[in-house]
């Protein structure tokens, strides 16, 4: 079990995380944030493996990754 959280107000919608996610779980949110960008969202949290690749490539530190301690 893993999940990500996205700081949608500071996300600039560069979408680098969308390309980085090996399972294609991150998509552009059609709603705009206060800065006028389309932030990203995780569309299928149940599939997230907690690989952190989206967070590694995020230039704005908007993604936090959580993983079940096994």
């Amino acid at each position: 079990m893993a999940k990500i959280t996205v700081d949608t107000q500071n996300c600039k919608g560069c979408l680098l995380c969308v390309a980085a996610c090996p399972r294609g779980l991150i998509k552009k949110d059609e709603r705009l944030n206060k800065k006028g960008f389309n932030p990203v969202k995780c569309v299928d949290a149940a599939q997230c493996s907690g690989c952190c690749l989206c967070a590694v490539i995020c230039p704005d530190c908007c993604i936090e990754v959580y993983k079940e301690n096994t």
Binding site: K12, L16, V18, V56, I57, P59, D60, K67
Partner: protein
């Protein structure tokens, strides 16, 4: 659930002024992570450049100084000589380190100053409006080379290879940020460059190929692909010295 990835302590909460997809944000984060992991936050002194990263001191939560354009390594030399117990690094772009500051860069390297240099190469002047930089590729369109750079305007300046030929330089590696795996390699290179200074090895430089989507006229993803498919051919990755 346990948090396994979040903002490093040495990176402030401030949102950055960088454009969407800019490599500076990733590079700032990597530096902050390395500083945290080496536990040198109370000892490190950064020298911010002139260029897009000019207010890097607003983003890093450790001591920083500012230098005149291109003079970061001269300022770093003074600070390191006066405070040898501190870990001093410069963070410079290609307009700063490879154009106006070439003189300071070459001489600091040749003196073998025990410094860490982070060289952000995005092949363009970002802050001033996307003009040609010494590192601009042949054929690359910029504000001052609207039909693409030609050889008469100089070939792309390979600072890492140039400096690797100097005796005072101990470590040079070129890394990229076009994919998560490359970002992790860049972090290892930065760790090595900081560790070298702590161990007294000497002048260490990490060149980071960094995307500038705004002045490349590409989306962030296309910029990453351009680094992978075009830029790396001119600036090959790996350990140079």
């Amino acid at each position: 659930m346990e948090k396994i990835y979040s903002r490093p302590r040495s990176l402030r909460e401030n949102p950055t002024h960088y454009c969407p997809g800019c490599g500076h944000g990733i590079a700032h984060k990597l530096v902050a992570q390395v500083v945290d992991e080496l536990d040198i936050r109370e000892k490190v002194i950064a020298i911010a450049p002139v260029g897009c990263a000019v207010i890097a001191y607003d983003y890093w939560d450790f001591d920083c100084s500012e230098a005149a354009h291109g003079r970061a390594l001269a300022v770093a030399t003074a600070i390191k000589r006066l405070r040898p117990e501190n870990v001093v690094f410069t963070y410079q772009g290609d307009g700063d380190l490879a154009a106006i500051g070439t003189n300071e860069t070459i001489h600091a390297a040749n003196r073998g100053e025990n410094l860490t240099v982070i060289f952000i190469n995005n092949a363009v002047y970002g802050m001033t409006g996307g003009q040609m930089a010494p590192t601009t590729l042949l054929g690359q369109k910029t504000a001052t080379t609207p039909r693409g750079r030609v050889a008469q305007e100089g070939l792309p300046l390979k600072i890492s290879e140039l400096l690797a030929g100097l005796g005072g330089v101990k470590y040079v590696e070129r890394v990229s940020m076009h994919a998560p795996a490359e970002v992790l390699k860049a972090k290892r290179a930065l760790t090595q460059a900081f560790q070298n200074q702590i161990d007294g090895v000497g002048f260490s430089l990490v060149e980071i190929l960094s995307p500038c989507p705004t002045y490349w006229g590409k989306s962030p993803q296309k910029s990453a692909e351009w680094i992978r498919d075009v830029m790396i051919k001119e600036f090959p990755l790996g350990r140079i010295k």
